[in-house]
């Protein structure tokens, strides 16, 4: 039986690889915000991208995981267990045949998360589950991914009592992407980090070894959010495919629009996931004796960040008004290189928004006082004028030896001219 605990965390690169796919921790705020940002561009047909990206990673991963399992019931059981371990919810594939079938469930991360964050939806929202099931059908029955179809016909986010997915055979009704290359990882540098009372390596190890509690609904309610452990290349594919579509539609300006959206998603990630962590009893239990200054809080949360599968972050410069973080094998860069080769612009959007968000929480939001992480607080902290803004100074996806993020406290001015996220040399 599949057990995600059998896949060890790679502390040399700070990645978790399951069935050949790197897996990363995110929360429902980030997941549904990123999806909605992509869907909001109505002039782009995003549904085939969202479904196709999930189908791509699920098919690749399950083909790997099922390679030594011959019996169909056992193959289905592995798929169901993986889905649950990811925090995606519950699925029952017993009625599935090689012709397809219906999958009905009362628990789906995206449907639940969407309704929690945005309220009732006008259309189905569980694109990841749709694509995952397409990939699963193909992998279970040794079919080409291009020969399966999948669509969601009912969605709990719309008020239905269940999510229903219809699977069938025929030319794929989602995007089939060009094959990815093998990932290229680089050696982590021996950077000197500022002194701190936080034992960074031990914290990363302790957090990575902490089991995520999956409840009876197949969801992971932790740190005040619904967490998931999903495929890094799902996030990469939907982001970069969207960015490509935007570039086709609007040229270089399309890249900038996409960057703004993805960096905002990074703020959302920092505020909710990292903020939730820093307000949790688990944080107090592991970290409290080591936290004497706000700088210790930064070192502490970067150590937690390194346990999320995102790659290795190192703090190389830190003051109350600025942070420089150097990232090795950040998953956006590694994924971009696998999918599209060398980038001609910085692609570290999550890390750009994420580290600006962390600085906002610690130095402006007084996260040590455990404030309520409300939407109003978010707006005050990120849209109220005085705030940390970050930019990429290097990016591994462009051939640089690491990705580096510089976050600086920016006072509001009458004419704000600096775009957050732009690479310094761009």
């Amino acid at each position: 039986m599949f057990d995600i605990a059998n896949f060890g965390y790679d502390f040399a690169t700070n990645r978790l690889v399951v069935g050949g796919e790197p897996m990363v921790l995110h929360c429902h705020h980030y997941n549904v915000f990123l999806q909605r940002s992509i869907q909001d561009a109505e002039y782009i047909d995003s549904a085939p991208i969202l479904v196709g990206a999930a189908a791509e990673v699920a098919f690749a991963q399950l083909t790997n995981l099922l390679s030594r399992t011959a019996e169909i019931p056992a193959r289905k059981a592995t798929v169901e267990a993986l889905y649950r371990a990811c925090g995606l919810g519950l699925i029952d594939l017993s009625a599935l045949t090689d012709r397809g079938g219906a999958v009905r469930t009362h628990s789906t991360h995206y449907s639940t998360g969407w309704k929690e964050k945005f309220g009732v939806s006008r259309a189905p929202v569980a694109f990841f589950s749709t694509g995952f099931l397409a990939g699963a059908l193909a992998a279970i029955y040794h079919l080409p991914l291009s020969d399966v179809q999948a669509r969601q016909t009912a969605c709990r986010s719309m008020g239905a009592d269940a999510d229903v997915f219809e699977l069938g055979r025929g030319p794929a009704d989602f995007t089939i992407f060009a094959p990815r290359r093998n990932p290229v990882l680089i050696a982590v540098g021996n950077d000197v980090e500022p002194a701190t009372s936080v034992d960074r390596a031990a914290v990363t190890r302790a957090v990575a070894e902490m089991q995520l509690p999956v409840n009876d609904e197949g969801l992971i309610p932790v740190f005040g959010v619904y967490a998931t452990r999903l495929h890094a290349d799902y996030y990469n594919r939907i982001s970069f495919a969207f960015e490509g579509e935007m570039t086709e539609a609007a040229g270089r300006q399309g890249v900038e629009i996409a960057a703004d959206l993805f960096i905002e998603a990074g703020h959302i990630c920092a505020f909710n996931t990292m903020g939730g962590i820093m307000c949790s009893p688990e944080w107090d239990a592991l970290m409290s004796p080591m936290l004497n200054t706000r700088e210790d809080w930064v070192h502490g949360i970067v150590a937690w960040w390194n346990a999320c599968g995102y790659g290795t972050g190192k703090v190389v410069d830190l003051s109350p008004t600025a942070l420089t973080v150097r990232l090795y094998n950040d998953y956006e860069s590694v994924g971009y290189n696998r999918m599209y080769g060398t980038a001609d612009h910085g692609v570290g959007y999550l890390v750009t928004g994420g580290f600006a968000g962390i600085m906002n929480l610690i130095y402006l939001g007084d996260i040590h006082t455990k404030p309520a992480l409300t939407p109003e607080f978010y707006d005050r902290l990120f849209k109220g004028g005085r705030a940390f803004k970050a930019r990429m100074t290097t990016c591994q996806a462009m051939g640089d030896p690491y990705t580096e993020i510089r976050a600086e406290l920016a006072e509001p001015t009458a004419a704000e001219g600096r775009r957050e996220g732009a690479r310094a040399s761009a």
Binding site: E116, A206, P281, P289
Partner: protein, 102 residues
């Protein structure tokens, strides 16, 4: 003894409280949830890596009506309640347990 019960914002539309206690939490709290058929209790001890760390725990009944997060040695726990018809009774029962702690 409960010193303070502070309602905490919960983005999952549940009700969450942070209970500050008169003393630090010890194993006597977990003893109330020792029935493995009724409660799922998980603990995590990272002291082999972080000697000063505290042992964290989470308690969830099989029916999922509440979730306790805390750590031995901290003077507070958080309890998250599902919003349903039985929430008030569930909350009263958990608060009675906390109030009875020394």
């Amino acid at each position: 003894m409960i010193r303070a019960a502070e309602k905490v914002y919960d983005c999952l539309h549940r009700e969450r409280y942070r209970y500050t206690l008169g003393a630090v939490v010890d194993e006597s709290l977990l003893a109330h949830y020792g029935d493995a058929a009724a409660f799922d209790v998980s603990v995590y001890d990272a002291r082999h890596l972080l000697p000063q760390a505290r042992v964290t725990f989470r308690v969830e009944p099989r029916d999922g009506r509440f979730l306790i997060n805390g750590a031995l040695g901290l003077d507070y726990v958080t309890i998250t309640y599902l919003r349903d018809a039985g929430m008030a009774a569930t909350r009263s029962a958990q608060e009675a347990i906390l109030a009875g702690l020394m």
